[in-house]
Symmetry: C2
Subunit: 216 residues, 2 copies
């Protein structure tokens, strides 16, 4: 079941996730993907939400999303160049002060790496359906808002985006969660990560937006 991405068997095996169910769990909880293409020796990266779907054609299923027609990565995707995708689960600094033992500082994280083959969605109807399904999926745990097939802005948007389906060809879970430590210490590391991830970000974001408005 473990699918080795060439040149990426790092971190060591103890930090590698081997169950595809956990890979899907992270993709669904953290859908904002870093989409990476290397095309004509040039690197392109975009940040877009991708939705996971099972598909009888592909053993590991597929991801669906869309990008703006002005995004410089478009050509690489349309040409079908293989993509590397990273989904970012939670992460946090793990201070030695948490433990009785004299550990070194470290950083824990959950990252999912996917390799896939993109294929353009050429039909406007299929793209529209893809947007409706994406919204349904993203709204599942929030307000339950439903995007209407006749939403006028959406129907204008269809001319300014290109939709893709990406067949998952291989995957790797880089789940660094203190698995090399005793269970008690693993629990303390999870607790620390949980607290860290509850930090109030509003002051930071507001200060950035304030500077932003001033400088632009």
């Amino acid at each position: 079941m473990f699918n080795h991405i060439e040149g990426m068997n790092y971190p060591p095996r103890e930090f590698q996730e081997t169950g595809f169910q956990n890979i899907i769990k992270i993709i669904r909880a953290y859908p904002l993907a870093t989409l990476i293409s290397v095309h004509n020796n040039k690197l392109y990266t975009s940040h877009i939400p991708l939705i996971y779907y099972k598909d009888k054609q592909f053993p590991f299923g597929k991801l669906a999303g869309h990008i703006d027609i002005h995004n410089p990565q478009l050509n690489a995707l349309q040409k079908g160049t293989a993509v590397n995708i990273i989904f970012h689960g939670p992460d946090s600094y793990i201070s030695p002060s948490l433990f009785k033992a004299d550990h070194l500082p470290t950083w824990n994280y959950i990252k999912v790496h996917i390799e896939g083959k993109p294929r353009e969605i050429k039909s406007k109807d299929t793209l529209r359906q893809s947007l409706l399904k994406m919204t349904e999926s993203l709204e599942a745990n929030t307000s339950g808002y439903m995007l209407s097939e006749n939403h006028p802005t959406m129907n204008k948007l269809l001319d300014y985006i290109v939709g893709f389906e990406i067949e998952i060809t291989s995957w790797e879970g880089k789940f660094k969660l203190s698995q090399n430590k005793p269970t008690e210490e693993q629990d303390m590391a999870i607790q620390s990560m949980t607290v860290e991830n509850k930090k109030d970000i509003s002051a930071l974001v507001k200060s950035i937006l304030k500077d932003f408005q001033r400088s632009s």
Copy 2:
């Protein structure tokens, strides 16, 4: 002051951060970097914390960090191949249900992109000092733990890691924060992102670790 990374002038200008102070703010608040190298036409990525330092030699300063000697990206870094680095600030789905106006669903995020030139830290003493300074920086807002120069595990570790300094050659802020919306709606989007980012992650992480232990 705006430093265009070639082929990356996307998203549109209204979502691009132009103040370097805000770039540093995000690097300091979210130090876990995605380090990307393209070397001999092959893509390498690692997730490591990087610390920002001012440096008289470099107008935009430098980043410092280290990787394991078994990391397949090591060679690209030692050869000095240019790196692309992404720092991941907060992000969240923005539901149309937040607004009175009939907006489309979107995803807001704060991402910092850096291009840089890596240079290996060859002296063990300099590397040791780099680890001490990194710990001091990461502990600034936590327990105040101090790493000792004589920490026995750290001194053993020095043979199994390679340290780097990365000169920042260009940078770009992809700060998508509803800046194209009225201030009132920007505030609602920040509030939504803040709530979303306070989600309790412990159940998710525990369920993953449980499966993990079972399957390995």
